[in-house]
């Protein structure tokens, strides 16, 4: 079933897009991540122009995170104060991301920068996750109880002035730290089409030291609003949001997410995290190889 994408200006197989969204959706349901970090590279491998892939993937992440936010809200798992600070930082981040996008595009370096950022980000996060989950898998195997990580914020965070009390997160820290964190993920969302959950969650846990019960919900809350902001920003600047592409991705991903959520209940969390780490590292390695291999196309065209 072929479908014409009016913004990407090409025809794709709708089934492939739905399956791609579905596959990413299963993973996102299993791990509670938006899955943008897989959608964007996969779309690019499939032949969608990078800007359209990143813009439409961020639109898709919005839809993929809605029901999660509602679910966490019901459980009281969203710290709205913290989430609000992160969103404000994130919106400024998308603005900065748009400016960076424009500069890099005029220099012709946007693709390379997107690739390098993916390699660095996925490589480091995947490495950390693999290490952490391996330790806990080994500990579980040996029958030892897993030592709970000590909850404390990073000394840099603790030294920032103007402290606020974030009751639900159980924190008394300066809002500057989450503001900066939101800003950085906002840039990432704009450039890479990722929600940023897999940066946000570890940063919230290990940098800010937030209580684990509100981390995922608050991160989803931030992702929801920042991907909305980035869709708007892409619509206004790059004009690369393909609504048809986003809808087909969503049809797949919302279905896949439900399947993934059910699968996740049957699996041990340590193995689940190890599995996610493996996928993240695989994408990173594939992208790193892509930078070094001779590309299929040496030349690229840009309309003036």
């Amino acid at each position: 079933m072929d479908i014409y994408l009016p913004i990407a200006n090409l025809s794709v197989n709708a089934l492939v897009i739905i399956l791609l969204g579905g596959g990413v959706g299963v993973l996102s349901g299993m791990f509670g991540v938006g899955g943008g970090f897989l959608t964007t590279p996969l779309l690019i491998f499939y032949g969608i122009p990078p800007a359209v892939a990143a813009a439409s993937a961020s639109t898709q992440v919005t839809g993929a995170s809605v029901s999660g936010v509602f679910a966490h809200m019901k459980r009281g798992g969203v710290d709205f104060q913290m989430g609000g600070v992160l969103v404000v930082g994130g919106i400024f981040g998308t603005g900065a991301g748009a400016a960076i996008f424009e500069i890099l595009e005029s220099l012709g370096q946007i693709d390379t920068v997107i690739n390098i950022l993916y390699v660095l980000m996925l490589g480091s996060i995947g490495g950390l996750m693999a290490k952490e989950s391996l330790t806990s898998v080994l500990a579980v195997r040996a029958g030892k109880p897993v030592a709970a990580a000590k909850r404390r914020h990073h000394p840099l965070v603790a030294n920032l002035p103007m402290r606020w009390r974030f009751y639900r997160s159980g924190l008394y820290i300066s809002p500057i730290a989450p503001l900066i964190l939101g800003f950085i993920t906002g840039i990432m969302t704009m450039l890479l089409g990722v929600g940023g959950g897999f940066i946000m969650v570890p940063a919230m846990l290990y940098l800010l030291g937030m209580g684990a019960q509100v981390v995922v919900g608050t991160s989803l809350f931030q992702i929801l609003f920042v991907t909305m902001a980035s869709t708007m920003m892409h619509s206004l600047t790059t004009k690369a949001v393909d609504i048809v592409l986003a809808v087909f991705l969503l049809i797949g991903s919302v279905t896949g997410a439900q399947i993934g959520a059910r699968l996740a209940q049957r699996m041990r969390p340590e193995y689940l995290r190890l599995f996610l780490a493996a996928i993240v590292l695989l994408v990173a390695i594939r992208m790193a190889l892509g930078l070094g291999w001779r590309p299929d196309e040496i030349y690229t065209l840009q309309a003036l």
Binding site: D2, I3, Y4, P6, I7, N9, L10, S11, T59, Q60, T62, G63, A64, S65, V66, S67, G68, F70, A71, G108, Q109, D111, T112, I116, M228, T231, M232, M233, H234, S235, L236, K239, V241, I243, V244, A246, V247, L250, I251, V254, T255, Q258, L291, G292, W293, R294, P295, E297, I298, Y299, T300, L301, Q302, A303, L304
Partner: protein, 254 residues
């Protein structure tokens, strides 16, 4: 119609003075190609008749070449080079008039029917396109960029050159099929027909226009995205939110 009539009036004295020149009556299978949701590309038939003076076909073989050409545009071509172990865009070159689409079909290979000078004058063949490169003085380097541009477009299906695909019947009727990929840019295209004999272009006609445009929903989306960006962005967000919310709602009931 009035324009056509005016054109005929204008041409009449000329054709009267050039009694011995054959006339081409070219046409295409579609004057308009609509890009809709199921669009996977199109096949265009370029056909027509050759009308000889006094209705007599000359001795010896004639050849026909047909060209379908999209609107010209300015582009920057970037070239990747391996720097510090990774492939990055390094060099670039600007071209002022690159056709969005260019397909040529001929009854025999071009180098057998026209000499290189004629080919250059009429821009016959992918290696004869006048792309107006700018800013590059080094001829070898320019050649490399031109070759890169043509090769890229050829593999994307936007530049095509086919030999032996124009069928000529009884020296009078000709027809050729050209494929148009789904990634074809919109715009007004011109179909050109050239009658070639003894290495010379006897008559050329480029009066047939083909309009390629998006219609319906695809047109609406494009216009909204371009001209009503704020509204389009809000729509995209809303559609995404509703779809996500609705799916969550449905699956919770299951």
């Amino acid at each position: 119609m009035i324009r056509l009539f005016a054109l005929l009036l204008f041409l009449l004295p000329m054709s009267a003075s050039a009694q011995n020149v054959p006339k081409l009556v070219p046409d295409v299978s579609q004057r308009q190609i609509n890009i809709q949701s199921g669009f996977t590309g199109a096949e265009m038939l370029l056909f027509g008749a050759i009308i000889y003076p006094r209705g007599v076909a000359p001795e010896g073989k004639v050849d026909v070449a047909v060209v379908l050409r999209g609107p010209a545009r300015s582009v920057t071509l970037r070239e990747k080079q391996k720097i510090a172990g990774i492939w990055v865009n390094a060099d670039s070159s600007d071209f002022r008039s690159v056709p969005a689409y260019y397909a040529i079909a001929s009854s025999r290979p071009l180098d057998q029917i026209v000499n290189s000078k004629t080919a250059a004058i009429y821009e016959l063949g992918l290696d004869r396109l006048q792309l107006s490169p700018s800013g590059e003085v080094n001829a070898a380097e320019q050649r490399r960029f031109v070759d890169g541009l043509v090769d890229l477009n050829r593999r994307n299906g936007l530049f095509r050159q086919e030999a032996g695909t124009v069928e000529i019947t009884d020296q009078v009727l000709y027809r050729a099929r050209l494929n148009i990929p789904s990634s074809v840019p919109v715009g007004v295209y011109t179909a050109e027909t050239l009658l070639i004999r003894d290495g010379r272009v006897i008559v050329a006609d480029d009066n047939v226009e083909v309009r390629i445009r998006k219609t319906g929903f695809e047109q609406l989306v494009t216009v909204l995205a371009q001209d009503y960006a704020l509204f389009y962005g809000a729509m995209a967000v809303l559609v995404s939110l509703l779809l996500g919310w609705f799916a969550g709602f449905v699956f919770n009931r299951l």
